[in-house]
Every structure is written in C-alpha cells, then in structure tokens.
Symmetry: none
Subunit: 252 residues, 2 copies
C-alpha cells in the first residue's frame, strides 16, 4: 500500500464519494417511487433500495477508512500506519448479494414455493461465495489468493448459471412489454458479476503497489454501482412494465 501516489489516492477518494452519492440517490429514487408499482412488486422495490442503502452506509465507512489510512500534505502522501479496512466490502456483500438475488426473484413473480426455494438456495450460495472469497482477499500470497478465488468461483458459477438459464426459461411467462428489460437484467447480471472475480485477480496479474490498489478500489466501486444501483433501477422499470401489463389484463 506504500507505493500509492497522491494522484491515485485522490482518484480513489473521489470514486468512493461518487459511489456514496450514487447509492444514496438510488435508494431515495426507489423508495420514493415505490407507489408507482403494483402492490405485489413493492417488496422487490423496497429491497432494491435496501441494497443501495446498505452499500451507501459501507461506502461512507470505506471512505473514512481510506481517509484515515493516508495523509496528503503539500502534495506529498504518507501512510498513517492505520490500515485501510478491506473487510467492509465483504461485510457489505454478505448482506447485499443475497438481497440482490431476492429482489430479482421477487420481480419475476414465480410461484410462492419457487420464490421461497430459489431465495433460500441462491441466498445461501451467495453467502458461501463471499465467505470463501475473504481469506483470499486479505492474503498477499498469490497461491492463497488463487486457492480461495477458485473455491469461491464454484458457488459463483452456480448462481450465474442458474440466473442466466433460469431467467431465460421464465422469459416466456413475462408480459411481452417487460421481456426486453428482463433480458437486459440477465446480461447485466453476467456482466456486473463477472467484474468481481476479475478485479480480485488484478494483484495476481502483474499489477503492483499503488496501481493495483487503485485498480482494485475503482474496479469494485464501478462493479458495485452497476450491480446494485443500475440493477436496482432496472428492477424498478421491470416492475413498472409488469404492473402496467397486469393492470391491463385485470381490467380487460
């Protein structure tokens, strides 16, 4: 962490602040617009807002921790000796990733038993995936990082496969007007989720010191914004389209 430059430090700092604003704004957008969707979809919107709320909280802590780890005086950066706390991300993911899966499952409006079984199965797999990633994240040894990365990839691939294939199968049962957005949600999930294991690999792929730190922090922030805020807004618009389509059916 010592090789970071003042410019890299500032870049990461500003990215964290941007992420706080994006997460908080998304939370309020979702909660304030909750009444725009049919009653059935409101818990999905509430939970989407919870995900970005929890992320906003953790990014405030992450920014504070980053702030406490370095001091920039007259353009010169020095480490304060207080370590940057890597754990916040994992604590955040442990709460938000299972909730992300639940919001997606809820907006699909599957049968009650399928909703419960899918939520429990995918939520548990997500928690296991994150717990397996953490020992690797806090290690500096490439071998240890690869080991936990590989273990964590097992539940990761399982979830991604189930979402990608499972969502395609359920496309048929979605109203025509929502199909395009559900398909976007499928690809966004693959794209945003794939970001995380790749960012994890940065320090093992030749990136070093401050450059690696900067890429990892900025990379995770972008991935979080896409996977939580952009995804949450997409869930909202799927719920809006489905509410409209179902409202028409009901009144037809």
């Amino acid at each position: 962490m010592q090789d970071i430059t003042a410019g890299q430090y500032q870049l990461v700092y500003n990215f964290f602040s941007f992420t706080i604003a994006a997460m908080a704004a998304t939370t309020l957008f979702l909660w304030l617009n909750r009444s725009q969707v049919a009653k059935y979809y409101r818990p999905a919107i509430t939970i989407s807002g919870l995900v970005t709320f929890i992320a906003a909280y953790h990014y405030v802590r992450i920014l504070d921790s980053w702030d406490g780890a370095y001091e920039v005086i007259d353009g010169t950066i020095t480490a304060t000796g207080v370590a940057f706390n890597d754990a916040y991300r994992y604590v955040d993911w442990l709460l938000t990733v299972p909730l992300l899966l639940v919001e997606l499952i809820l907006v699909m409006r599957l049968s009650k038993s399928e909703t419960i079984s899918k939520s429990v199965r995918l939520g548990t797999l997500a928690a296991v995936m994150i717990l397996l990633g953490y020992p690797g994240e806090i290690s500096d040894a490439a071998g240890v990082r690869w080991l936990w990365w590989s273990l964590s990839m097992i539940p990761f691939l399982w979830i991604v496969y189930e979402l990608f294939v499972g969502l395609r199968a359920s496309l048929e049962s979605q109203p025509a007007s929502a199909r395009g957005l559900v398909n976007t949600a499928r690809y966004l999930t693959i794209f945003a989720w794939a970001f995380y294991p790749i960012v994890f690999l940065f320090p093992m792929l030749g990136l070093q010191g401050g450059v690696a730190d900067t890429f990892v922090q900025v990379g995770y922030s972008i991935a979080d914004i896409v996977a939580k805020a952009v995804f949450g807004i997409l869930i909202f618009f799927i719920a809006v389209r489905k509410s409209e389509a179902e409202g028409e059916e009901a009144s037809a």
Copy 2:
C-alpha cells in the same frame, strides 16, 4: 482487556459494523413494508422496527466506544486507556427486550385483556432480568458474576417458559398457514435467548483476556442479530400470513 490482538480487535470492529448495517436495514425493511400487513398487525411491525432501530443506534455508540478504546498503528495495538463502555448493551436491552416481547404478544392477536396483562408481566420481568444481569457483567470477580447471573436467570427462565409453553397453547388459535412460522418463532426465541446467559459465562469458563473479549462481543452481536433482526422479519412474515388468512375469512 490488554491482551487483545490487532486481529481480534479488527474482527470485533467488523462485527459491530455488520450489526449496524443489519439492524438499520431491518428497521427500514419493516417500516417500509408496514402497509403489506392488515391494520391490526401494523403496531407489531412498527415496534419490531423500533427494536432494530434502537439496536442500530446503540451499535453505532458501541463501535465508537470500541474504536476509542484501542489504537492500531502499523499492525500494533495499544489500549488508549479510555475504557470500552459495556453499559450500552444493557441500556439497549432495557429498552428492546420488553418491546420484543410486546411485538410477539401483539402478533399473536390474543384478547385485549390478555394482551395487556401479558405485556405488563413479561415486560416487567424482562426489565428485572436485565437489571439483575448488569452488576455481574461489570464485575471481574467470578463469584459476583455467578451470583448475579443466577439471580438474572430466574426471570429469564420464567419468560422463556411462558413464551414456549404459552405460544404452544395459542398455536391452535392461529391460522393454519401461520402455524409453522409461529413454531419457528418459539424455537428461535429459545435458541436466541439462550445465547445471552451462555455468552455471559464465557469469561467464567476459562476464556481469558482478548479471547474472552472477542467471544463475548462477537457472541452478543450474533445473539442480537438473531433475537432482534431475524426475529423481527419472522414476526413480519407471521403478520403477512395472518393478514392473508383473515382477509380470506373476512371475504368468505
């Protein structure tokens, strides 16, 4: 408290932060979803959210107090001399445990007189239980700890017995669709509540120094998450099921 390692300190710190996020998220989930249950059950949901709100507030204070008690510089931990404030937990419990009992009594929808008498009796017993535990918690003498622990166990066992047996008796009067969840609530109460007196015993059972502190802090945090957040969500789903069942009856 001096024997704690930097790793133990960080683990406890991250657990506290996780607990803040979990409590705050649960509060918002409950309050935002309040309109999903029938009017009768809304006070129970409001109170469930109050319990996690009060807990979130106290965990912010607990984290700050923990932060102020130690300093970690370059991986080396030193006690600042400012003592970690144990009292926050007891102040929290004094407010939240009677409320927890009230939320459970309300969701059972007993007769008005039974609701009031049970709330007053169990609420008072809970307050007595917590007041009796505190003198033991702040003592380092095993004999003093055992004395207050034993005294505190009297109202504790009374409450647990009344809940476990009382809830079983009222299972009959619950709609069939909610019985499974009410039964889960019974067992969750026993399981989560039993955690507290066991965690209290850790320092008397051979655990020492930093290991004892870590176990106690992490143990109480887990117990609080289960007894307040998980329990609150369970109360919410019981209310949802009962609202559905009673709505059907009403329209039948």
